[in-house]
Amino acid sequence: MIERLLEVARRRADGGADALWRRVERTSVAFEWGRLKAAGATEEAGANLRVRHRGRVGVAGTTAADVPPDDLVTRALASAELGEEIDLGFPASRPPGSPLPSISTFFDRAAGASLDALIAMGRSLLERLEREGCQVNVAIDRETAQVRVANTSGGAAEYASSGVAVSVDVWRIAGDDVLAVGDSAETADFPGDDVLAALVASVNTRLDRALRIVAPPEGALPVVFTPSGLSPLMLPVTQALSGQAVLQGISPLGGKVGERAFDARFSLADDPLRAGRPSSRPIDDECVTSRRTALVERGIVRGFIYDLETAARARTQSTGNGERGIFGKPVPGYTNLVLGVGGPVPGGAASALGGGLLKDIRDGLLVDELIGVGQGNVIGGAFSHPVALAYRVERGEITGRVKDAAVAGNAYELWNRVGAFGNDARWAGSRWASSVLLEGVSVARR
């Protein structure tokens, strides 16, 4: 399909074109409140075309399989007519002898798993999570995709991918106290027993520790953020490390390449070549070969992510972070974000809550989830959120769950007040991180 599109586009657009075609099939099962309630199937396909004509760039997309290529090109040209001029080049095909990075994205066991296998996995999770007075939701999605990208400079690639996403949450309502503890695991292959066991252990550990409610502490305190609790500290940083924000002049890290902006133990990279991850891919959605991009190394800002267009505007190279839906134009997007303190950190499936960081805390908090992350003026770094799930730590031990408390601070300041990184690194969505102890975090209570 996209070859025909590009053929027509080559004739009608003087500056070339590129296109993406994607077909997705998804099977899902949902257990609600402990019962299997629904099974679903999705089949979706679409194409996105970008043209450059008289220096201007335009895009068009469709999910209608029967749209004549000429119509879609016409729509893209109409979009280009209004566009600003931009010096956008499409990457040529790779020279012979430089194949795509070998990264497995498609796993037969995931793609071939039957509906019954998905249901059995859900039932097994339900059994292991069942407990008195609680109700369990489980959702399992299995997806396979085929992606083809190509352009008029001869760049072209195609790959298939698979992914299984398992999410569980356990609810406990006692009077007016609502407690919800959840976790999820996303893998490119069919998840093994180790993955499911870690998921169950993660939920059960946090639930056990949450049953007792204690008064929150108050003041500027040591606070440990778990791998999933890190979002309010990571969101400003990832926004600021996008080439888009740098170009717009709104990134606090914009002028700081080569400067130290974080604790010397803080490193961050975007890595599309991580084995077994559903966000991994050999090539991005604009025909740029995937590679690891160092963003921060030992506290020093090293670079930003770019797609073709932001790179052209910034007079630099795309980092292979072009992300493209069926509608709209490509945008820079992260693949796998790896927060590391240097070399690979051992995953700690069986690690205790807190990643070994609690022992020296006399009075503080362990934060697993905050409410409202992403609201407000995120990129500036300031945040203030009530806790959804947090525990009080006294004399090195978790003493119970706290409610009615809020945590506030500035991400950029706090990343310079790191006490230690934990030994419990894991994937939380597409982010790999361990727990982090930060000193002097504002904790308010009602």
């Binding site: 309630k37 469709t62 209608a64 109409a78 609201q375 809020a406």
Partner: protein, 459 residues
């Protein structure tokens, strides 16, 4: 199309089958700073089938190729049979509706050239950029769509609708050295091109606010009497109470049912709350929900007492209540689930001045950057705030985040003014991966006797 869908229904061997098909034309024009980022026209189409065999679970299928309609009906049937559910899923009765319901297109956006849409949003973007050199960045988006919609179900419903939508949004970013602030403007209506006109002043005000916030101190954290402006009061009632009134949260959970027992007192007698999907021309307005149930004005809290909740046919049957027309799907890619439409706090008495007259030290929280609920706990972020000192509105403050417990906070609403208005914001609501669903809210000025405001906490 209806005939084609009806024929596919006939071939289904399930006890209940419904089919939705949508074809959506949309255009979007985006400015970033002085640069036109994109101007696109898109066409999206697809279908959704949901099937129920007696004693079995839901089988659902969605697809983009309409050639697959018949095979996807069969596939949904197989999926339903693969799932056994005990006790069985039941659906509350709804009289089958047959309707041709084209909403007022208010200047059909499909007849307006993309270049005209570009000029319109360029002018609004220019209004923000023109405010000050301190405005270092803007984002201005024009978006419209017209969705043609078909729905049939095995009980005889047959609906054909045209649903228009237009949204304008502006973000102005002001910067001085390391300080970055933003102002937002947002307009969203189930209307068309005519309603997109004459919004310069709102965009300009957003940029002026971003600049003013550069000099504003962060609000000092603590508990205060808080007055919510109508916009934030609307977001508050949506976040803090609306989600709990969605019956899919309570219908199969005995403890949750107990917590949300009808007749329970939630607030003082001044408090009235409802959800009205049938209000005219608002963002959450539709004649029917995505199960073919007519929308309505549903009372949720009357004089402080819980009197109703929002239902789909399935939750209504389980709880022995009536469907309220709140089963909504984001698009053909999703199943209908219980959602809000236009949620409101009913009008009170008196003026804004009556609310602040006896406040010695308080916060006037205005506008909304967003909000989130985790059931009994919620958080929402005001766009800006003003201190109230000795009964008067005083200095501008920023980073006003309100956090609280639903039960305590609703009960602390002690005064509601008589200046009700509907919000006309864009944006929308997210739930179960379906976001942003068009909804809106309405409210008068509302006073909370005491609420926790996040902000600077002295060490």
């Amino acid at each position: 199309m209806i005939d084609r869908l009806a024929a596919a229904l006939k071939r289904s061997r399930a006890d209940y089958t419904e089919i939705r098909v949508e074809r959506t034309w949309s255009t979007a024009v985006t400015y970033r700073g002085r640069r036109l980022e994109s101007a696109t026209a898109s066409e999206d189409q697809g279908g959704f089938v949901r099937v129920l065999h007696a004693g079995r679970g839901w089988g659902v299928a969605s697809f983009t190729s309409l050639d697959q309609l018949e095979s996807m009906v069969a596939r949904a049937g197989e999926l339903s049979r693969a799932v056994s559910v005990d006790p069985p899923i039941r659906l509350a009765d709804v009289a089958p509706q047959r309707a041709e319901a084209a909403l007022d297109l208010d200047g059909d956006v499909r007849g307006v050239a993309l270049a005209d849409k570009k000029r319109l949003i360029e002018a609004y973007n220019g209004a923000m950029l023109g405010v000050s050199d301190r405005i270092v960045d803007t984002l201005a988006i024009y978006r419209d769509e017209v969705s043609e919609y078909w729905y049939v179900n095995a009980q005889g419903a047959a609906l054909h609708e045209l649903r228009p939508e237009v949204t304008l949004s502006g973000t102005a970013v002001a910067r001085r050295d390391g300080t970055i602030e933003k102002g937002l403007e947002s307009v969203g209506l189930r209307r068309g091109w005519k309603s997109a006109q004459d919004h310069e002043s709102g965009f300009r005000a957003a940029a002026e606010r971003a600049v003013a916030l550069l000099d504003a101190p962060m609000v000092r954290g603590g508990t205060y009497p808080v007055i919510l402006d109508p916009e934030l009061a609307g977001v508050f009632i949506h976040e803090a109470f609306g989600h709990l009134s969605e019956a899919d949260f309570v219908y199969e959970n005995p403890q949750a049912r107990e917590m949300m027992t009808l007749g329970r007192r939630f607030g003082k007698p001044v408090l009235n709350v409802g959800d009205n999907g049938a209000a005219l021309g608002l963002r959450g307005t539709l004649p029917f929900d995505d199960e073919g149930t007519p929308t309505q004005d549903t009372a949720l809290i009357r004089e402080g007492i819980l009197v109703g909740r929002l239902h789909s046919r399935e939750t209504a049957a389980t709880m022995g209540e009536r469907p309220s027309g709140n089963a909504r799907a984001l698009s053909f890619r999703h199943p209908p689930i219980v959602r809000m439409t236009n949620t409101y706090i009913g009008n009170g008495k008196g003026t804004f001045d009556d609310l602040i007259r006896d406040v010695t030290l308080g916060v006037y929280a205005c506008g909304a950057f967003g909000g989130q609920t985790m059931l009994e706990n919620f958080s929402f972020t005001a766009a800006y705030g003003r201190m109230i000192r000795d009964g008067h509105v005083a200095e501008l403050v920023k980073d006003v985040v309100l956090a609280g417990n639903l039960f305590q906070t609703l009960d602390r609403i002690d005064h509601i003014a008589g200046d009700f208005r509907w919000n006309q914001m864009g944006g929308g609501c997210g739930k179960a991966g379906q976001s942003p669903l068009p909804v809106t809210e309405g409210a008068p000025h509302v006073r909370i006797e005491e609420a926790l405001v996040g902000g600077d906490v002295p060490a």
